[in-house]
């Protein structure tokens, strides 16, 4: 409960409730004041109207006419609402529905208030009455008034109603406020509990949804989506860290061992220089691995997204293929390249080049005989790049794993490589809103070969022709 008092939801509800209660009470007070006044004024107006009627009669027909009229009025009344009394100069009643001249208090000149008692056919309790008094000719007196018991009863009933209304409003408002606050609090509490568990390290926790689809449900769903992504990233990060630690420890240990042995051998100058050169080469390989990791991380983080520009992927593919053509030729492989004349995509030139280099390099590396075919074509809104080789291929169940960092299949350990090539290809695909997958190049045949399919969205628009490298522009004029 104390925690509830400190919450924002409660403060909000309490503030809202206070405002609500104040406005309801103000409204009721206004109703009370305006009606109370109204009933009093109405009473006096009725008495005054009655007096005017009686005065006319008195002017015209004298005391007897007045007495007749009063008797007629009294006879016509269902209940004793209007009070009349005529007395002589010694206050002996002559006519009217009061038994005696009342012992009254003067309210203001001409107006008195006095108690009235219950009579046999009148079940009402004792109350008070308001009356106007006049002295007529010869000392006769006239009293015209109204029994206020109805008014009082109405007033008290009305006050009661007002009181109960106020009370009910406050109670309902308070209960409603508490209820809704607690409802909100329960949802927030549930989220907090989950968050606390996650902070303590249990990352499998998720915020429960109640299926209502309200904003709390949406918030919970979003929180869960965030958690899911964080968990995936964390798992990836842990995997990478472990792999890096593992894969970089081996070359580092080798490097250290080589230096140690060199030191033990006390070699001559030539041998020492040789060992130093080997060490530098080993360190360069390590640095290359680090750079490859960094490029993947950059692509995955979308750090280069702002450098995306319109590039001609066909031209990139052709120029990378040209770079690798002699390698294929040296190995005796048939390397074919087919591209549309121009394929405009929104992309990062360097990363797209690197993607093609990695795929072509893999194909050339693992194919000992036959063909490597590179095709780049636009198909509708997609650009499709295929690199198919006639190498041994990859078993279907390993085709996803090879995209992970540092994964190298058995049998490829003897070939140079760091196991990061395909990881970068996938990161490049993701950065460009595309996809990459592996398949058999020649299904059902042996060897089945491997076909890498890289797709990314095509771009509309045209390309300015690309200038040759700056260094070669400086030709003699």
């Amino acid at each position: 409960m104390l925690r509830l008092l400190r919450t924002n939801a409660f403060r909000l509800a309490a503030g809202y409730f206070a405002l609500f209660a104040a406005s309801v009470l103000a409204l009721l007070a206004f109703v009370y004041l305006s009606t109370a006044d109204f009933v009093e004024k109405q009473t006096e107006a009725t008495i005054n109207a009655e007096i005017r009627g009686l005065a006319t009669q008195y002017e015209q027909n004298g005391l007897h006419g007045l007495i007749d009229l009063i008797n007629a009025r009294i006879a016509g009344q269902q209940i004793r609402a209007t009070l009349y009394l005529i007395t002589d100069d010694r206050l002996n009643p002559i006519a009217g529905n009061l038994s005696a001249w009342p012992a009254a208090t003067t309210v203001r000149p001409g107006w008195i208030e006095f108690p009235v008692e219950a009579r046999d056919r009148d079940a009402r309790e004792t109350g008070s009455a308001l009356a106007s008094i006049f002295v007529l000719r010869d000392g006769y007196r006239l009293l015209v008034g109204r029994d206020l018991r109805d008014v009082t009863a109405f007033r008290s009933r009305f006050n009661h109603t007002l009181g109960w209304t106020a009370l009910a409003t406050v109670a309902l408002g308070l209960a409603g406020g508490l209820f809704s606050t607690r409802n909100i609090m329960r949802r927030v509490e549930a989220m907090n509990r989950t968050s606390e568990n996650i902070i303590r390290g249990d990352f499998s926790q998720r915020v429960a949804l109640d299926g209502s689809g309200d904003e709390f449900d949406q918030l919970s769903a979003n929180l869960n989506a965030i958690l899911e992504r964080i968990e995936r990233l964390m798992t990836g990060m842990r995997q990478v860290t472990e792999n890096i630690a593992h894969d970089l420890r081996t070359p580092l240990a080798r490097l250290r061992a080589r230096l140690e042995i060199t030191l033990l051998e006390r070699p001559d100058a030539d041998r020492s220089l040789e060992a130093l050169r080997e060490t530098i080469a080993e360190a360069d390989r390590l640095l290359a691995t680090f750079n490859a990791l960094l490029r993947i991380a950059e692509a995955e983080a979308g750090a280069r997204r702002h450098t995306l520009a319109l590039v001609d992927l066909a031209e990139i593919a052709r120029s990378m293929a040209e770079l690798y053509a002699p390698v294929a030729e040296e190995k005796g492989l048939a390397f074919t390249v087919e591209t549309d004349p121009v394929i405009v995509v929104r992309g990062d030139r360097l990363l797209l080049s690197q993607m093609i280099v990695n795929l072509v390099d893999n194909a050339l590396k693992y194919t000992s005989a036959g063909t490597v075919a590179l095709t780049a074509r636009r198909q509708g809104t997609l650009v499709r790049i295929e690199i198919a080789d006639s190498g041994p291929g990859i078993p279907a169940d390993r085709r996803e794993v090879v995209f992970d960092r540092f994964v190298r299949l058995e049998g490829s350990r003897s070939t140079p490589g760091n196991g990061l090539g395909l990881s970068l290809v996938r990161a490049v695909a993701t950065l460009h809103g595309g996809d990459v997958s592996l398949d058999d190049a020649y299904p059902g045949r042996s060897p089945r070969g491997l076909k890498a399919v890289f797709t990314l969205p095509a771009s509309e628009g045209s390309m300015a022709p690309r200038l040759p490298p700056v260094a070669l522009l400086r030709k003699p004029a």
Partner: protein, 221 residues
């Protein structure tokens, strides 16, 4: 050569000064951006090596200020991998260069040498008995014409323009293929091997030499 090094990292600076001095250059060092710009303005240098991230004034601002003042001293920018963006490339489009940290001294020295050799307006390149006519794009060795593919021609031109100096594989990839990719296999070696076949095969004295741990060089012997 007189070289100004503007680098705030003491270890990297020491490495650079040592390496450049050992290679026969005389080196001035500034460890901060503003003093670097001051020195660059006052001194006359053959080349400058400027770190991109510097306290006081960053490397690109220094270069910008120098170029505004019509100081055309070649600049080699040292940059972290993630910092090589369009701004760097745009600023260096005039023919200057950049090296990504951590760098190999060989690479840096080779690029520095290439930077300070520019703007020669010959129509013929000659290395011993190897000649290239830049207008007709014809190559002869000892008077006999050598048939080259367009890319081989560009590769040879680049080697000949830097004759006597080491050219690294990365430099060739960047300047001849205009690409900053990381070739997984040593694809450049294959290209150089083919070029070597065409220009050196059948001659007693090879011109194209491999420099271990660095790259290649084209020189008369």
């Amino acid at each position: 050569m007189r070289i100004l090094v503007v680098e705030d990292d003491a270890e990297a600076a020491a490495y650079l000064v040592k390496g450049l001095t050992e290679s026969g250059h005389s080196v001035d060092l500034a460890a901060e951006g503003r003093s670097g710009l001051d020195r660059a303005r006052r001194g006359t240098y053959d080349a400058m090596i400027i770190d991109r991230m510097l306290p006081g004034l960053d490397g690109l601002s220094i270069i910008h200020a120098l170029r505004e003042a019509r100081n055309q001293t070649p600049v080699l920018v040292l940059s972290a991998l993630g910092e090589v963006d369009d701004r760097v490339k745009g600023l260096l489009a005039g023919g200057d260069d950049y090296v990504v940290k951590p760098f190999a001294l060989n690479e840096l020295l080779a690029r520095l040498a290439a930077l300070t050799r520019r703007g020669n307006a010959e129509t013929r390149l000659v290395v011993a008995d190897l000649e290239m006519d830049l207008l007709s794009r014809k190559v002869t060795r000892a008077g006999r014409e050598v048939e080259l593919l367009p890319r081989e021609l560009r590769l040879l031109e680049y080697l000949m323009r830097n004759a006597g100096h080491v050219v690294t594989r990365t430099m060739m990839l960047e300047k001849v293929w205009d690409s900053h990719v990381d070739p997984q296999t040593n694809v450049i070696d294959v290209h150089v091997g083919r070029l070597r076949q065409k220009i050196d095969k059948g001659f007693a004295r090879p011109l194209l030499h491999t420099v271990r741990g660095a790259g290649y060089t084209l020189r008369p012997e």
